[in-house]
């Protein structure tokens, strides 16, 4: 019974943390983009603009919810929910910190700790693309459809390289359990050095999977108005934004867990803070890249994914396999 209560509390806390993380990641991105572009960014609502997310949330909730007359009503309503669900579900298996002891109870800082945690994370994140492609199709708008189709091809192509680049870590740690992967890094050193190439490949595919600049072709505003979410407004539009930013936080957490020791760190700060600090640094990197790089051309994006990232990560995987099995 007490375990069930703890589980419910953990789920609610995780959702609260992620929603708060979403709101303030978005604010951080807007302020930082402002600074990168030599302007101020939103700074009027509250001290330093800190209440801006709340104002945005109220605006989104009060906006009229529009649906095109020719849209498929069920799929149109379902699509943003799929996106948000897939984004939130991945976080259930990511360990946020070392188990803590409260009131004589040991509480793991993750919702679930399955033996195949990494694969569960990939399974849920691979479902996220349905929200985009179904939303684009259900809108019955050519720009939405093109955005959805671009997203499908892009995510399928980059998912392969992403999975292959995570395999090396799996081999080095001898497990697919994310907590065990973190503990293996405490024994053998963080995996970023032995896996330096997969680390870079994983980072690039992370940007592509979250559809962010320079891989934001599904919503390229100079060609497709807003891509797959052109027709969405109000809370449904907000759900797509929630999904995008939570995906950003999630893949950052996954990257940190796989290559940078997760919640490990010197003892003067609690493990959960180390995890948040590392994730924060990665999120900053994401924003920096968005402010710096222009968008890819679509054929270059495809040939880069299939002809560069995939062979490179595959070769490095073979090398890692040879190393782990003792052939080398």
């Amino acid at each position: 019974m007490i375990a069930f209560v703890i589980l419910i509390v953990k789920v609610l806390l995780l959702i609260a943390i992620l929603m708060g993380g979403f709101a303030y990641t978005m604010l951080l991105e807007r302020r930082l983009l402002g600074f990168f572009q030599l302007r101020l960014g939103p700074n009027r609502v509250g001290p330093g603009g800190l209440l801006q997310p709340i104002a945005d949330a109220i605006k989104m909730m009060l906006k009229e919810d529009l649906m095109p007359a020719s849209a498929d009503p069920v799929v149109y309503r379902l699509a943003p929910v799929i996106s948000a669900f897939a984004a939130l579900a991945v976080d259930a298996v990511i360990p946020f910190g070392a188990p803590i002891h409260v009131f004589g109870l040991t509480v793991d800082l993750d919702i679930a700790n399955p033996s195949i945690g990494l694969l569960i994370a990939f399974a849920f994140s691979s479902l996220g693309v349905y929200g985009i492609v179904l939303g684009g199709w259900a809108s019955q708008n050519k720009y939405s459809l093109l955005g959805g189709i671009r997203a499908t091809a892009q995510i399928i192509s980059y998912e392969l390289a992403m999975g292959l680049s995570a395999m090396g870590v799996l081999m080095l740690a001898h497990t697919a359990n994310l907590e065990q992967i973190v503990l293996a890094q405490r024994r053998e050193g963080w995996f970023w050095l032995p896996q330096i190439v997969p680390l870079l490949v994983f980072f690039i595919t992370m940007i592509a999977e979250t559809n962010r600049t320079p891989f934001d072709l599904p919503e390229a505003e100079s060609e497709l108005v807003a891509g797959y979410h052109t027709e969405y407004s109000g809370m449904r539009f907000a759900l797509y934004y929630v999904a995008e930013y939570i995906n950003l936080i999630t893949v950052s957490g996954l990257w940190v867990t796989l290559f940078f020791g997760g919640w490990l760190g010197p003892g003067f700060l609690p493990p959960i803070l180390w995890f948040f600090i590392k994730v924060g640094i990665v999120v900053f990197l994401f924003i920096w890249i968005r402010a710096t790089l222009p968008r890819f051309r679509y054929d270059k994006l495809m040939s880069f994914g299939w002809k560069v990232l995939l062979p490179v990560s595959f070769l490095y995987l073979l090398g890692t396999a040879a190393f782990v099995s003792g052939v080398l």
């Binding site: 033996s115 399974a123 691979s126 492609v133 050519k142």
Partner: protein, 173 residues
């Protein structure tokens, strides 16, 4: 136990939805639901890795490609029925599927079940890996060769036709 029935009912309803839906995209969504329900069933049978692989491979990759094609084909098209080429094929298909279902139910009724799933960690990554790469390696190799052959076959069948040398003007040079 009721969980198995619930997921089973969802799986069957979704499977019916695949053939009953008028709109191809709705069929695809039903199929995805069916795949997810099957993954849940695998999970209940303690085949964790199989469940994850089912979702990653079928729901995450193959159905996405299906949707890619289906959304392209049905964009902005009116729903209309193509004329049937084989007359009465629906009746035949319906009758045959009911007959197959009856046979399956009969076989199930005669086979005593012994609890849910085998005991022990048979469905984990290590157990499945040991089975596939150890004892079952020849079969894995055979399946891999078969898939490779199919992929090569598609490439060969779809290659652009090479213009024959005699008909091409200027090829004598």
């Amino acid at each position: 136990m009721w969980g198995v029935y619930l997921v089973g009912i969802i799986a069957v309803l979704a499977a019916v939805g695949v053939v009953a839906a008028r709109q191809p995209v709705h069929s695809a969504i039903s199929l995805i639901l069916n795949i997810l329900a099957l993954a849940l069933l695998y999970l209940m049978l303690s085949a964790e890795f199989l469940a994850a692989a089912q979702v990653i491979v079928y729901a995450g990759a193959i159905m996405v490609l299906f949707l890619f094609v289906v959304t392209l084909l049905t964009a902005g098209k009116e729903e209309q029925e193509a004329p049937e080429i084989l007359s009465g094929q629906r009746w035949w298909a319906g009758g045959l599927s009911v007959a197959i279902g009856l046979v399956l139910v009969l076989i199930l009724a005669q086979t005593p079940s012994s609890g849910l799933g085998p005991a022990g960690p048979v469905g984990t990554l290590n157990a499945l890996g040991a089975a596939l790469w150890g004892r079952g390696f020849p079969y894995l190799l055979a399946v891999a060769m078969m898939l490779l052959t199919a992929a090569l076959g598609v490439l060969v069948l779809n290659r652009p036709e090479r213009p024959s040398r005699s008909s091409e003007p200027g090829s004598e040079r």
